[in-house]
């Protein structure tokens, strides 16, 4: 590895040759013969840099007659001079200024670069400037609000290594929903944080079949092609430095509406009077009781005078855990990012080298993320530029510290009572009640058990929980031009990722102390035995992923007298991805000597807490897994162009994989696409002066999607022993030789247009996107031995519009440009055999609720009949009449008779970005909107209230007496817990509301200092920028105080961040 790197860097400079002649010269500009001292001159092919003095002069000694000079300068056209033709003495190199012209937009498919004007498919290009508008440490978030049809979904729990993005909806029910991400020619399936956004040149989004079907079985959710930065031929070394600081506000912990600590105490007091805690007092599990309850017990038992008890309780009323949290658990977030890169090239070599460093301190104190990345790529051209050899190395090291697991969405927070006090006046951590009654733990501690108290703030300090990743990717590409029209290429990538997550729970942490204590055996003589040894508990998990990608490709490109043009590629590709993971737990770990102690996993132990519990086992956390993902694919793509006006394209791909089983591979049905493009504005009869550019595109084809959760093979599971003491097996998955990948059939009709002087430019696309052969569950004929079949038997239908418009509203001194994105999407399940099990299956917000004719994610509710005026009970309908038999209402409900509100995901969405610029100053603001969807509001859970666990502040607004139903929808407090009543109310139609809203996403301000305006500037250019993200909601349809997209403590709205940055180009 080491030698490889050295070789890599030395290669370009080893090509020196002997020289012979002397030449003196000067570089001047064509206008005014101005000397150009910043010109870069290279002697080619040796590629020797020649120094230029302040007057643009240079001298060359001993040159070979076949050498050439390559003279370049920013803003000028590069000139190449053959030294053979130079007589001697003075050589004046006159450089012509570059006339800015409309650059042809090219898009990347991951297989080839094509000009957008010749493409038939739906491509969206996000260029470097737009990518750099936002500040973030990941690349994916920079696609937000800049790509029509691309949305970021709210998901309950994000899937590891997935983005929760969807492009034009989700044409699948149970398979992968994430777009395929391509980084430098090959699929990238790792952690998206492992791509430094500063290394990304641009991104192309492939949306329809013609664009994406070249990626075959993995392209069904669209494809995101990320192209990293490369050096340019014939350009001097360019150095660029980017540094920024991104400060995030503290999250608003009062955002969530919960009852006040004082109300909480009132409820506890009332429950106490009712005797609710009597059983808990006698609990065999010594269940903890909150301080107020303990005080009330002490008062009742006469251990505390009622005066003292009341005084202490009223003191507790003044506490609010959220205040302590803001002070001790949360902080301002602070992300720093530094990136440096150097790039350049000569006539037959180009290179790009970069280094990046990120350091993020998130809102939760004690957590941190650090990332170091290096990237170097180098291309060499041999055999009169017929052979191109590119090698690149990408290395990344990241380190995430997760010491603070006390956040407001954590399990630890959920067990805390709202009047808990985390620290005393001096900031010293205080113990709070947890798990067991103090009277029990006190006695245990007196008997020699470990301290059993829980101090949340100390936990943060003692934690030692981190995960590290080392990742590298090595690419080697060979491209050989056989003849000018035909090139053959081979690409290879080796990727390696090594992740280690390590959680050492110190013997001083509550987790470890509690575990040791729970298993402690106290002998009658008072001696203690500890089956879980004293010492730390270390959980470590290692995962190694390796992948090989190999591609062979032939590329043919020829134009016949400008009339016919043909571009075709064909080739094969092989990929092999292995993921091996293992994990273990060590007990009695001693970090200093890296030793651990053995434990007995087999025997049963008796709980110290509840001696009746005699079957405790010591948890064995050892695990091992190995996954193999292999593909062999064949693909072809061709585009034929006639007179520059008509384009016909076709592509096909066959994927064979180890996932589907032999039969599916043998059938080898290709996923294909066809496309037509017509540039109407080039026709002779075209006469619309106001619309100088008009192009129509029409495509049709198939994309695929992979589901790794089911197998074509019969799979079984072994069980211990049957009644004859014999091991036996159950069949989990019937053989399904007909299993195949899901397909998405996409039709796309598009218009590209540009008005005169480019004042308005845009693309309007209409698409139909039908998921077919989707993996779904369906009831099945039991004669086969199975009653529910999971196979390719569901489908979805979708259609939508994507509009993107650029309007250049003013073009004078003040430039005002608007970028308008509009997408609408109507997607429904069109075939699904099985019913979602039970009524409650339809009540999830983030889970799929497949019902024919309805969206995949839909909001259903129980129809509310208002509150019962007599007792404030929520009422539903049973057989058409208002009813309060909740069990019966729930049992009688199904997808047909529940209220269907609409989609749970936006059906209309987009953004409006206005950019104002005067000279070097520009200001832009992004407004995004999401419309046509519904959400379920959180409200009070009375069971939780009645169990003394607090809840939503709607409690304060509840029905209390007849007549209240006029102004409140919130039911009365029931006499006893009633799970069905709760389920009914929390999913009743009163709590469903429109999610439609418009938000001001961000603001960006930047100012560029150019050398040509500030001659004293030591750099070519400095760009200063400010970026403010997550500014706030401008309008929302609901009158709920909360953000429709962020309704629970598990999904607090992202905090507002302020970023300041500098980008310097040398």
């Amino acid at each position: 590895m080491k030698y490889f790197c050295i070789l890599f860097f030395l290669l370009p400079w080893c090509l020196d040759a002997l020289a012979q002649k002397v030449v003196r010269g000067q570089v001047v500009s064509v206008t005014g013969n101005k000397p150009l001292p910043k010109a870069s001159i290279y002697l080619e092919p040796q590629h020797i840099g020649i120094p230029v003095d302040s007057a643009g002069r240079f001298t060359l000694h001993s040159i070979s007659p076949k050498s050439r000079l390559s003279v370049s300068h920013l803003g000028y056209i590069t000139k190449s001079i053959l030294l053979d033709s130079v007589s001697d003495t003075e050589l004046i190199v006159v450089l012509e200024e570059q006339v800015s012209q409309l650059e042809q937009v090219t898009v990347q498919t991951g297989y080839q670069t094509i000009t957008k004007e010749r493409a038939t498919g739906s491509f969206v290009k996000v260029d470097n400037e737009l990518l750099n508008r936002r500040v973030s440490n990941d690349i994916i978030s920079r696609l937000q609000d800049v790509v029509p049809g691309l949305t970021f979904n709210s998901v309950a729990t994000p899937v590891a290594n997935q983005t929760s993005i969807s492009i034009r909806g989700q044409s699948t029910l149970s398979s992968r929903t994430d777009p395929l991400i391509i980084v430098d020619n090959f699929p990238f399936e790792g952690d998206m944080n492992n791509i430094n956004p500063n290394d990304v040149e641009d991104i192309t989004i492939l949306k329809d079949a013609a664009a994406a079907s070249i990626w075959g079985a993995k392209s069904g959710n669209g494809v995101i092609v990320i192209t990293t930065k490369k050096g340019k031929l014939n350009s001097g070394p360019k150095v660029s430095l980017n540094a920024n600081l991104n400060i995030g506000a503290r999250p608003d912990l009062f955002y969530l509406q919960t009852i006040s600590p004082s109300t909480f105490i009132d409820i506890e007091a009332e429950l106490f009077t009712k005797g609710f805690y009597n059983s808990r007092e006698a609990s065999v599990n010594k269940t903890a009781l909150n301080p107020v309850v303990e005080l009330l017990i002490a008062r009742r038992d006469g251990k505390l005078s009622s005066e003292v008890a009341d005084r202490q309780i009223s003191m507790l009323r003044t506490n609010d855990i959220r205040k302590d949290y803001e002070k001790y658990v949360y902080q301002l977030s602070e992300d720093q990012q530094y990136a440096l890169n150097v790039s350049g090239g000569s006539a037959n070599q180009r290179y790009f080298i970069s280094a990046g460093y990120d350091r993020n301190m998130p809102n939760l104190k004690g957590n941190m993320f650090q990332r170091i990345s290096f990237n170097a790529n180098n291309s060499l051209y041999f055999l009169s530029n017929k052979l191109e050899v590119t090698t690149s190395v990408y290395f990344l090291n990241s380190n995430q510290t997760q010491n603070n697991n006390q956040g407001i969405n954590s399990a630890a927070y959920s067990t805390l009572y709202p009047y808990a006090q985390l620290a005393d006046g001096e900031g010293k951590a205080l113990a709070v009640t947890k798990d067991f009654r103090r009277s029990f733990t006190q006695l245990a501690e007196e008997n020699g058990l470990l301290d059993w108290s829980y101090r949340p703030l100390d936990e943060i300090g003692m934690a030692d929980n981190s995960s590290k990743q080392n990742e590298y990717r090595i690419n080697a590409n060979l491209i050989y031009k056989v003849i000018p029209e035909l090139s053959l290429a081979a690409y290879y990538q080796y990727g390696h990722n090594n992740s280690i997550s390590r959680n050492r729970q110190d013997v001083e942490t509550y987790f470890t102390r509690n575990l040791i204590n729970t298993y402690t055996i106290a002998s009658p003589d008072g001696s203690l035995q500890r089956p879980i040894p004293m010492g730390d508990i270390l959980d470590q998990r290692t995962s190694i992923t390796t992948n090989h990608h190999v591609r062979a490709i032939a590329n043919f490109d020829k134009s016949w007298s400008g009339v016919h043009g043909l571009n075709a590629i064909a080739g094969m590709e092989l990929s092999d991805r292995k993921q091996a993971a293992n994990g273990y737990r060590l007990y009695g770990y001693d970090g200093e000597h890296a030793t651990s102690q053995m434990v007995n996993y087999i025997s049963n132990f008796t709980s110290y807490i509840n001696p009746a519990q005699t079957t405790l086992r010591i948890q064995n956390n050892d695990s091992n897994s190995e996954l193999i993902d292999r593909f062999v694919s064949y693909y072809t793509n061709m585009a034929y162009n006639f007179r520059g006006r008509y384009t016909f394209s076709a592509s096909a791909r066959i994927d064979n994989s180890n996932l589907f089983g032999v039969d599916a591979n043998q059938r080898g049905v290709p996923l294909y696409s066809l496309g037509l493009g017509w540039e109407a504005s080039r026709e002779d009869f075209y006469e619309l002066d106001f619309l100088p550019y008009l192009r129509l595109r029409l495509t049709f084809g198939y994309n695929g999607n992979v589901n790794k959760s089911i197998s074509a093979y019969t799979t079984a599971y072994y069980y211990g022993a049957n009644s004859y003491n014999l091991p036996y097996a159950s069949i989990l998955n019937p053989p399904n030789p007909e299993l195949r990948w899901e397909r998405v059939r996409v039709g796309n009709l598009a218009v590209d247009f540009r008005t005169k002087n480019n004042r308005i430019e845009g693309t309007l696309e209409y698409y139909r996107k039908n998921g077919i052969d989707l993996i779904g569950r369906t009831p099945y004929a039991p004669q086969t031995g199975i009653t529910t079949f999971v196979g390719n038997n569901a489908s979805t239908k979708g259609q939508g519009l994507d509009l993107s418009l650029v309007t250049r509203n003013t073009v004078g001194k003040l430039k005002w440009t608007s970028n308008i994105l509009f997408s609408s999407l109507n997607e429904k399940v069109s075939k699904y055999g099985d019913r979602v099990s039970g009524t409650t299956g339809y009540l999830g917000t983030y889970s799929i609720t497949p019902t024919v004719g309805k969206p995949i994610y839909a909001i259903y509710s129980f129809e509310s009949a208002g509150l019962d005026p007599i007792n404030g009970n929520p009422r539903g309908f049973l057989n058409g009449n208002p009813a309060t038999d909740y069990g019966a209402i729930i049992a009688a409900s199904n997808a047909e008779n529940m209220v269907y509100h609409g989609s749970a995901r936006p059906t209309i969405y987009g953004a409006l970005r206005n950019t104002f610029s005067v000279g070097s100053l520009s200001l832009s603001a992004n407004i995004s909107y999401s419309l046509g969807y519904y959400f379920r509001k959180e409200s009070v859970n009375f069971d939780q209230i009645l169990n003394g666990n607090g809840g939503h502040s709607d409690y304060d607004l509840r029905w209390r007496k007849p007549g209240d139903e006029v102004f409140t929808n919130i039911p009365s407090l029931p006499m006893a817990t009633n799970a069905s009543r709760n389920l009914f109310y929390s999913n009743s139609s009163t709590l469903v509301d429109k999610g439609d809203h418009i938000r001001l996403r961000d603001l960006q301000l930047d100012y560029v200092f150019q050398k040509r305006h500030f001659p004293n500037l030591p750099f070519q250019q400095i760009r200063c920028y400010v970026f403010i993200n997550n500014i706030g909601i401008i309008w929302k349809a609901t009158d709920s105080k909360l953000d429709p997209d962020y309704q629970t403590r598990f999904a607090l709205p992202p905090v507002r961040t302020y970023a300041f940055g500098l980008q310097v180009n040398l």
Binding site: I483, M572, S625, V632, N658, S723, L726, G785
Partner: protein, 463 residues
């Protein structure tokens, strides 16, 4: 251009070479944790899944005339039990039924094993195990077909077997193949064929009663031939069986006052009569403390007949419940046991006119069922008959008394209905009204659950 062609040829050649090793490359298991049954051990483990392989239909016990429940007690039973009890037109209100699903699951598991065996090489080292597993899978498949046929196919009549509806007969594990019902002849041919193929592959007896063996096959063949009216073959296989084992439990050795006096045939080989254990789907019917044996049946047990105390628990008010399951539990036993084979042998002899031999075999069985005097002599007096018809009548009555709750009574009723003079009507009383099942009623064939007919479109049984 020539060079271009040369380059392309090289590329094509390289691709060609690659595709040879492609198969191995793509054969890798995507997840190592995935257990794809492929070894003989795996197949044996699948066949040892007792809850799938050794479980079959249970409703015939409810439809037959051995037990009854009072009106009040019926309310507590599920709709399926009530529908079956009164032989209603619709039985399976909730679309599906374990009595259809479970035996077909047995068939599916057996087919998975048979398909899997096709990919395992049989050699000298593994031949014994290979054969036993193959024979076992064939056995289980036919066994499941047999029990399905007794519920869902029309009663067998040789004359019309080519016309009557059989049952779907899946012979491989591809769940994409949906089959029609075929005819009755195909169903019986398939069972007989598979059983005949399986017995040379199986050992005489197996180490535990959940595993198939020659005796079990002979038992089933004797049952099937008896139902088909092929007395010669039924007798032949009963004799083959008895050559291997003819041991009976002496009821004098049992503790008749125990809650479950029978030795458990569901563990190892505790019950020497049981050669193959088969659980009948439970509907909490036979085992209920309020499902009583029909008084006229109970009356048939004489006082010295130990079955009277070993089989029945006194629930007061002259109500008796069954406690004599060969599983020594609330589960009903439907497998093959030696007592049944004695009765088949006796019946065959009687039908062939061999009155003496027939009664000899009955005698051998009943000697073990009756109380012995203190001197060790049996209180049983050998039954006599003036002719084979009378002998047959005695034998059939003893058959009913010996084999109740075994799921066989329903098959017997179907069979006897087709024989002149043996048919009988069944009557249920409820809320002062009587429900009658007349001989050869269409209701002797259960309807096929709706989830099957809706999914595969196979024809429903007329009721």
């Amino acid at each position: 251009m020539k060079r271009t062609i040369a380059y392309i040829s090289v590329l094509v050649l390289a691709l060609g070479t690659f595709s040879n090793c492609k198969k191995d490359f793509l054969d890798a298991k995507p997840n190592k944790a995935l257990l794809v049954p492929s070894s003989l051990t795996d197949f044996q483990a699948i066949l040892d899944n007792v809850t799938v392989m050794n479980t079959t239909v249970g409703l015939p016990n409810i439809a037959c005339d051995d037990f009854y429940r009072s009106d009040a007690n019926l309310v507590a039973m599920s709709a399926v039990v009530n529908n079956t009890y009164f032989w209603r037109e619709n039985i399976f209100d909730d679309l599906s039924s374990n009595d259809w699903d479970v035996p077909y699951k047995t068939v599916f598991y057996a087919n998975v094993v048979l398909d899997g065996l096709a990919l395992v090489a049989r050699n000298e080292q593994n031949s014994a195990e290979f054969d036993r597993i193959k024979g076992s899978a064939l056995f289980f498949r036919s066994m499941a077909f047999f029990h399905l046929s007794q519920m869902f196919a029309v009663p067998f009549e040789a004359s019309s077997a080519a016309n009557g509806f059989g049952i779907p007969l899946p012979l491989n594990s591809n769940v994409n193949n949906l089959l029609g019902r075929g005819n009755l002849k195909q169903t019986y041919d398939q069972m007989i064929n598979d059983f005949t193929v399986s017995f040379p592959l199986l050992p005489d007896r197996s180490k535990s009663t959940n595993m198939p063996n020659k005796c079990a096959v002979y038992g089933y063949l004797a049952r099937i031939y008896l139902i088909m009216g092929n007395i010669g073959n039924a007798k032949k296989y009963a004799e083959e069986y008895l050559k291997i084992t003819d041991k009976l439990i002496d009821f004098n050795t049992l503790n008749s006052s125990a809650a479950r006096p029978m030795p458990n045939g569901g563990v190892a080989n505790a019950n020497e009569e049981v050669v193959f254990a088969l659980f009948l789907n439970g509907y909490a019917y036979d085992s209920s403390t309020t499902t009583f044996v029909q008084p006229e049946l109970y009356q048939l047990y004489e006082d010295n007949d130990l079955r009277k105390v070993c089989f029945f628990a006194d629930r007061g008010n002259k109500n008796y419940t069954f406690k004599g399951s060969y599983f020594a539990s609330t589960s009903s036993f439907g497998g093959i046991a030696t007592d049944e084979v004695y009765l088949i042998k006796a019946e065959c002899e009687a039908r062939l006119g061999q009155t003496t031999v027939a009664l000899d075999y009955l005698h051998k069985l009943l000697l073990t069922r009756w109380r012995k005097s203190n001197a060790g002599t049996s209180t049983y007096i050998k039954k006599t008959a003036v002719n084979s018809t009378e002998a047959l009548k005695i034998i059939l009555q003893e058959r009913r008394k010996e084999l109740l709750t075994r799921g066989l009574r329903w098959s017997d009723l179907r069979r006897l209905n087709t024989l002149a003079g043996a048919e009988q009507s069944l009557v249920r009383n409820n809320n002062m009204s009587a429900y009658i099942l007349i001989p050869n009623s269409l209701r002797y064939t259960f309807p096929i659950p709706l989830n099957e007919t809706l999914s595969s479109g196979i024809q429903q049984n007329p009721r």
